[in-house]
């Protein structure tokens, strides 16, 4: 055992941190360790699977028990590999398997009988037999020494946790398998246990054994590695390995000094001794403490010049560090901690609990009110969310950007504000027509029609729309059932008459204009005209 080759930093540390070092050690030597473990564990698992298949169903727990029972012996191969790896010696898994039978002596009977069910921290004690070669009473003494100060407790808890890890992985594998089975409820591994209890299916015990073998094959080396680093740490603590290493390094450094640098060093050190300032120069000056100040003040004013001079001399002498009654030291003083941080939490929790219990009584009587409040809060939340994310809805087209677009003032240069139109449009048109102002009459009629469409019937007309486009928009509104048939017909004939007159100079006769006015009045002018 050469401590210089140690691959672990074995300063004393809390036991759980020592156990955690095992994962790192195992990870570094994972390939060899797991190969060696599975070289033994794999054939054993296969043999037990075969045994399960051969035995009658009532006996299917026996192979499971067997493989679990002999696990401590398989663990020794991991100790063999890791105990060499920790000193930088690489062994192959084949060497480990060949060496394994020789590792079994010592403690095997104990480990395979009454220790098996109860000693969860056995991993801490196995190296005593295997690596130290201790036997009998001496081994017992070693066990007591190593297990002291809570080390065995930590190892036991680690054993408990590792057993649970195995169980979790086993259940996880079964649940994973269950995810691929179309049987409802198969994903819950506990149903499998329930089914297995009835001993009905040939495959269940095989499945249980196989998953256990996989899980233990994963966690087994982890447990051994954790316990082994705990063992090493405990020994390093008891035997001060880290201090031995430090002293050896110190001796090595001194040896180097002595041979090569002695003369140079001597000159330097000697020089330093002369240059080095006197320690008093580092002394700290401070205000005299309260009792000294009080004493100085209490002697009152000096009687005369002579006394003042003597006092000054005395003070000067007593101010020296060797004679004064106090010592000046420089040090760190903790800042005053925040008062809030020191507040105790226990009363707070108690009060919370009181409030909760009082609230519980209140709630039972006020259940209806609370229910109502909850529903209202939920509704408010929904509305708030809709409002908060309205821009998302707008983007999705679920909400029109503006519910009511501003009503247009003019369409293609025509002023369509209702207030610019005469009160009785039809009469005004007929009057103008009879007065011979035919163009003005038809223009007014067309303008009034567009105005009514936009302002009274809510048809959105584009600003620069021509007569044809206005008509198309009205047609679209008709198809969308936003404009009724009669109104559309009026708009259509007004537009046609206007277009024929204005652009083709083809004028309608008086009778047609009169009829148009009548229809206009009856259909388009009235909001509630159409039933």
């Amino acid at each position: 055992m050469k401590l210089e080759h140690l691959q672990l930093d074995l300063r004393p540390r809390p036991y759980w941190q020592a156990i955690d070092l095992g994962y790192a050690l195992l990870r570094r030597n994972a390939a060899t360790t797991y190969a060696a473990w599975w070289a033994l564990w794999g054939p054993l698992a296969l043999a037990m699977l075969a045994l399960t298949a051969l035995l009658p169903l009532d006996w299917n727990w026996v192979p499971m028990m067997l493989i679990w029972w002999v696990k401590p012996l398989v663990e020794r191969i991991v100790i063999y590999v890791l105990s060499r790896a920790v000193f930088g010696e690489a062994v192959s898994w084949r060497e480990a398997v060949r060496a394994w039978p020789g590792q079994l002596s010592g403690g095997w009977f104990r480990v395979l009988t009454w220790w098996r069910p109860i000693m969860l921290g056995r991993g801490l004690y196995q190296p005593i037999w295997q690596l130290e070669g201790a036997r009998g009473a001496f081994a017992k003494q070693r066990r007591q020494a190593l297990g002291r100060r809570g080390a065995y407790g930590a190892a036991s808890w680690f054993g408990v946790v590792c057993a649970h890890f195995e169980f979790v992985i086993e259940l996880g594998l079964i649940a994973l398998l269950g995810l691929f089975i179309s049987d409802p409820g198969a994903a819950n591994p506990f149903t499998l246990f329930a089914m297995n209890a009835k001993n009905e299916n040939f495959w269940y015990p095989l499945l249980m054994l196989a998953t256990y073998a996989l899980a233990a094959g994963m966690i087994g080396p982890v447990y051994v590695a954790g316990c082994f680093t705990l063992y090493l740490n405990r020994r390093a603590e008891l035997e001060a390995w880290d201090i031995e290493l430090a002293f050896r390094r110190l001796a090595e450094r001194c040896g180097r000094f002595g041979k090569t640098l002695a003369s140079v060093l001597f000159v330097t050190v000697a020089g330093l001794c002369f240059i080095a300032p006197a320690p008093q120069a580092w002394a700290v000056e401070c205000e005299p403490p309260a009792h000294v100040a009080r004493m100085l003040k209490a002697r009152g004013e000096p009687q005369d010049a002579e006394q003042a001079r003597i006092r000054a001399q005395v003070d000067e002498i007593y101010a020296r560090e060797e004679l004064r009654s106090y010592e000046c030291k420089q040090g760190w003083v903790p800042k005053k901690k925040d008062e809030v941080a020191n507040k105790e939490t226990a009363p707070f929790w108690k009060s919370v609990f009181d409030v909760l219990s009082a609230l519980g009584d209140l709630l039972n009587s006020a259940a209806g009110l609370i229910k109502l409040l909850l529903i209202m809060a939920a509704a408010a939340l929904v509305f708030w969310l809709l409002y908060r994310y309205r821009h998302v809805l707008e983007k999705m087209g679920l909400l029109r950007k503006k519910a009511l677009p501003e009503l247009p003032q003019e369409i293609a240069g025509l002023d369509i504000r209702p207030e610019t139109l005469p009160d009785d449009v039809a009469a005004a048109v007929w009057q103008a027509w009879q007065a011979g102002e035919q163009r003005a009459a038809l223009a007014l009629l067309y303008r009034a029609s567009i105005s009514r469409l936009a302002h009274r019937h809510g048809i959105a007309l584009p600003k620069g729309a021509t007569e044809g486009e206005c008509l198309q928009t009205a047609q679209a509104a008709l198809r969308a059932m936003r404009l009724n048939e009669a109104r559309y017909r009026v708009v259509k004939s007004v537009t046609e008459v206007w277009q024929a007159a204005a652009y083709a100079d083809r004028w309608p006769d008086g009778e047609k204009v009169r009829a148009l006015c009548k229809h206009w009045q009856a259909d388009l002018d009235q909001v509630e005209a159409a039933s």
Partner: protein, 226 residues
């Protein structure tokens, strides 16, 4: 030459201060989880006793179940210096990868991803992840950029009471000084032979062996601490 395995993680702050964090392994974390779950179950069943009677009580109970299950670890980690009650008991603490305390973002992320770590059953994926990762991070930790470390109690400064303070014959490095103090502090727990053996090893420093060397070492240690 491979590096020496030490469970610690050295972080260097911009000020040049070296922080040593020790990530905590799955076993200790599983124990903390068990404590948390146990406490949660107890408080939930107590609350169920209070609220259980009426229909409204049961409705509120369901809400409390949901909120407490997801809120408990998050609130405790954010306001409790990265410690749930179980972690506090087990001496663990959640911190960010750079050693800073966790905030809302990290805590919410790592706790929401418990769902992923839970698969296929009872944190199988989380356990597997922790075993593979060098800093024992589960999926949630990897996503949130956090890790769980041991909350080491502050080291007590050593003070050697007996022995005549004596200056060192030549300067020692901080590591060597620490080893010297460590030796004197732990000497009472070592066997006699081992103590003398180690004292012999320190011969270049003490220019003596055996008990003489031991006494010298005690004096040097007293000189270092007083």
């Amino acid at each position: 030459m491979t590096s020496i395995l030490d469970g610690r993680l050295e972080l260097l702050t911009p000020e040049g201060v070296s922080l040593a964090l020790t990530p905590a392994g799955p076993a200790r974390r599983a124990m903390a989880w068990a404590v948390d779950t146990f406490l949660w179950l107890i408080s939930i069943s107590m609350l169920m006793g209070i609220l259980g009677g009426s229909q409204a009580g049961r409705g509120i109970m369901l809400l409390v179940l949901f909120v407490s299950y997801w809120g408990y670890p998050i609130l405790f980690e954010v306001y409790g210096k990265g410690m749930t009650l179980g972690k506090r008991w087990m001496g663990l603490q959640v911190v960010r990868a750079d050693g800073l305390p966790v905030g809302w973002r990290e805590s919410v992320l790592r706790n929401l991803l418990l769902v992923a770590d839970f698969l296929p059953f009872l944190y199988g994926v989380g356990l597997f992840c922790m075993l593979l990762d060098g800093r024992f991070r589960r999926l949630g930790d990897l996503v949130a950029g956090t890790m769980v470390i041991y909350r080491d109690p502050p080291a007590k400064p050593a003070r050697i009471e007996d022995g005549q303070p004596q200056p060192l014959p030549f300067p020692l490095t901080p590591d060597e000084q620490r080893a010297l103090l460590d030796f004197v502090g732990r000497a009472p727990r070592l066997s006699d032979e081992r103590r003398l053996e180690l004292a012999d090893l320190a011969e270049p420093l003490t220019k003596g062996i055996g008990h003489a060397s031991l006494a010298k070492l005690l004096n040097f240690a007293a000189g270092l601490t007083r």
